[in-house]
């Protein structure tokens, strides 16, 4: 067992974990953060994407011990004081989700994408979320949502 200290969605945790434990199972099974889900076992689908120290990471490819001393934001910690993140709002407004299983990872990946590129073209969004699979939407409304969120966030910055 290894002792880790990790801040998840603004709360500090200290836990003993098996060295082989993946971050996603630590989040789900130990912390009850079941908003983050597992969709595959080869890091292809991105359903488990979280922000680790501010950058998107597939939490099924990160060991819990690697998050020691770090800060994790999951879909459950994205809204602030009950106000949805612009990306969350845009996914709702643009119908960027159907079954919703890929949605937590898709939103977290999009948040990270917009940090790097606040005004992505359609092609840039498609490339930016390439590591996240969705089986329901055909991506069109996801792309729309990410671009709409980008516009909202740019406007927010200007104000």
């Amino acid at each position: 067992m290894n002792r880790i200290h990790v801040n998840v969605d603004g709360v500090s945790y200290t836990d003993d974990v098996e060295p082989r434990q993946l971050l996603v199972y630590y989040l789900r099974d130990r912390l009850g953060k079941v908003g983050t889900v597992v969709g595959c076992d080869t890091s292809n689908c991105g359903a488990c994407t979280v922000l680790l120290n501010g950058r998107s990471a597939k939490s099924c490819t990160v060991l819990a011990v690697q998050a020691d001393g770090g800060e994790v934001t999951t879909i459950e910690g994205l809204a602030e004081n009950g106000t949805l993140h612009p990306v969350q709002r845009a996914f709702h407004e643009q119908h960027g989700l159907q079954c919703g299983y890929c949605t937590p990872g898709m939103i977290m990946a999009s948040v990270d994408l917009l940090k790097d590129n606040p005004d992505p073209s359609e092609a840039e969004v498609r490339e930016g979320i390439e590591g996240n699979l969705c089986r329901c939407t055909g991506y069109q409304n996801i792309v729309k949502a990410v671009r709409a969120a980008a516009a909202d966030m740019r406007q927010g910055v200007q104000q």
Partner: protein
Amino acid sequence: MTVTDAVPAAEIGQSRRRKEDARLIVGRTRWTDNITLPGMLHIAILRSPMAHARITSIDVSPALESPNVVAAFSGRDLAAEQGSLPCAWPVTPDMVTPDHPALAVDEVHFSGEAVAVVVARDRASATDALEAIEVEYEQLPVVLDMEEALADGADLVHSDKGTNRSFDWIFDAGEAGTGTSTDEAFANAEVVVKRRFVQQRLIPAFMEPRAVVCDPTGDVLTLWSSTQVPHILRLMLALTTGTPEHQVRVVAPDVGGGFGGKLQVTPEEVITFIVGKRLGRPVKYNESRSESLLAAHHGRDQIQYLEIAATRDGVVQGLKVKLLADMGAYLGLVTPGVPILGAFMFPAIYKMPAYRFECTGVFTTKAWTDAYRGAGRPEATFAIERLMDELAAELGMDPLEIREKNWIKHEEFPYTTVAGLEYDSGNYEAATAKAKELFGYDALRREQQERRDRKDPVQLGIGISTFTEMCGLAPSRVLGSLSYGAGGWENASIRMLPSGKVEVVTGSSPHGQGHETAWSQIVADQLGVPFEDVQVLHGDTAVSPRGLDTYGSRSLAVGGIAVVKAAEKVVQKARKIAAHMLEANEDDLEFTSGAFAVRGTPDAKKTIQEIALATFAAHDLPDGMEPSIDADATYDPDNFSFPHGTHLCAVEIDTETGHVGIRKYACVDDIGNVVNPLIAEGQIHGGLAQGIAQALYEEAIYDSDGNLTTGTFVDYLVPSAMDLPHFDTEHQSTPAPGNPLGVKGVGEAGTIASTPAVVNAVVDALRPFGVNDVRMPCTPERVWRALNERGSDGGDRAAEGSIAYGGAQNAPAAGGA
């Protein structure tokens, strides 16, 4: 006056944002795998590494020595309880149905079949302990190719059955009285075009892997499952395991996609149910993605032999279809029925006097097939739409012109087809004209010619698909005539709460389709209550006791209509109480925007909410009236509905590399009236993605030993956002005459229509090079080979002799590869 006439359609037709999203975008979800119960144990499943083998010995006891392990079972341990997994669709009286144990007992028949389970305190411990189980297999011959499987002396999948043939099912329009003799039509034909097409094997690949939780504590066994069909599952679990039905409750909480892949009674559900029951403790099973791709049912996998007869000027005279449909190793819930549903759709939108359909179900040592988005209809639509292009090429005609010449004109509806279906409504001319404009058809045709003329290495191809489908499964009488084991009705009930809020209970169990939003819109209009005041309950047999669930584009056209019928009953009951409260005659009341008013004195009115409260109090009701305005309705449609559309696809093909890129995709769909355009468009988008994926990317491949070589998302190519184009979608509405909302169905349309549009485009680009078919998926390798090997359709995905060679891809007649 009925409520439908009285209330303006305020909500229906609006792009309401979905209620469901509120929980889904913040991670406040209830996936089955999220459920944790006191003392819960975890199941891991040992799966066969062999495609076909006898289990000569199996010893699970070493697993019990592993840390945290509570129990372990082999198929022999559960043999007395597990029964045989159900097939609800015996398509012929003499259909061969192999025994289908949840946990293999004596033999395994496909790679990935469950052979033993370990139950432990946590998932990791259970998985670790699988390695300790000792199994000895005696290898038996694999059966991978359908054509070879039917030859004399072929190796057998189930030796006790003596054959690999499950059934032969025939529909002959001449014999059925819906058409004339096919033999005569072909004997007299001026032109006959024959083709053999391969529908590759696909995997539904829903994003949420399947999970099951069983709670045996208490008097009723509760099973949570990521299923599309909680109601069917409840009945089937009871029948399969001999548990009294009233002591089983099934819950489908949030379900992360299905696409037919969760329309099943799975071995994993039965195993979890039995293990929970045996141990008396809650247990959970959650599959990995690899397990899901290996052992959840697959779809498609047909070889299609087609012949079409026509006159020289392009009038279709007859169609003959022979299918080999790969059942895989077993018959699942509706496995044999899938190709049979397709039987009725091969004639598609075309008028023809003669039609004959024959289908043979074939066993192979692969995962069993069953419903996958469209279920039989995409296969049929692909075949006929590809064939119409081939006929046009043979006759030197424009592919749109030949379609126009043969399709049903809008003034001819309702139209009874040669397959005996009565198409309710449509306007193929208008949809096609609109699609051509949206697509820029003429300009793209000009560009195509220019590229051909200048021998551009990047060639342009244009593909057309004018499709229809049968939705709204289904009239129970029709299902009965096809020997299906259940009906096709749907149930809904409406509960008026004292505070005026409304609970709607639906038997249609959603997994991403947005029922909560759409049903709220319907009820808001019907009862004149605010959209926000409606709560839709579903997916739990204790809450919604009657239902037949979600598949076959049936939810709105059947389940939505049940909601309308229930609402009409609520209004009927409320009318009596309103009349009593207003001291008026019932006939003098008008119900508008949620209130009853006395005709001529509009100030005298009672709202439905006031009536709900008065009913709850029950202080002063009409004599003899029970104090309830709640209502329940079960709706069984008289006919299917028939959405249609015209899909146009332009592809650019690099003739040097074989790469196919979609340049433009435009479609106009007619799905009748639309309750929520935003949701309907989303369904089209997602459907297109899956249909395009069949055309260009996805294929389940078995090697020559029967191992699935596409068992992860590294190998099984579910497209990403980069792999798909922007879709230009529009709709037109020809209201369905068969139901009060005029709705048809949309869930499968995109998938059914798009595959032939894409492949027709690919072949169109390559036809000047002598290519008349490219096998799906049209990978760069296949396109390149079709271009460079005369007479080839691109052949198998991998070269003969390589590890990925085998299976249906291994057909001897296929091209020159």
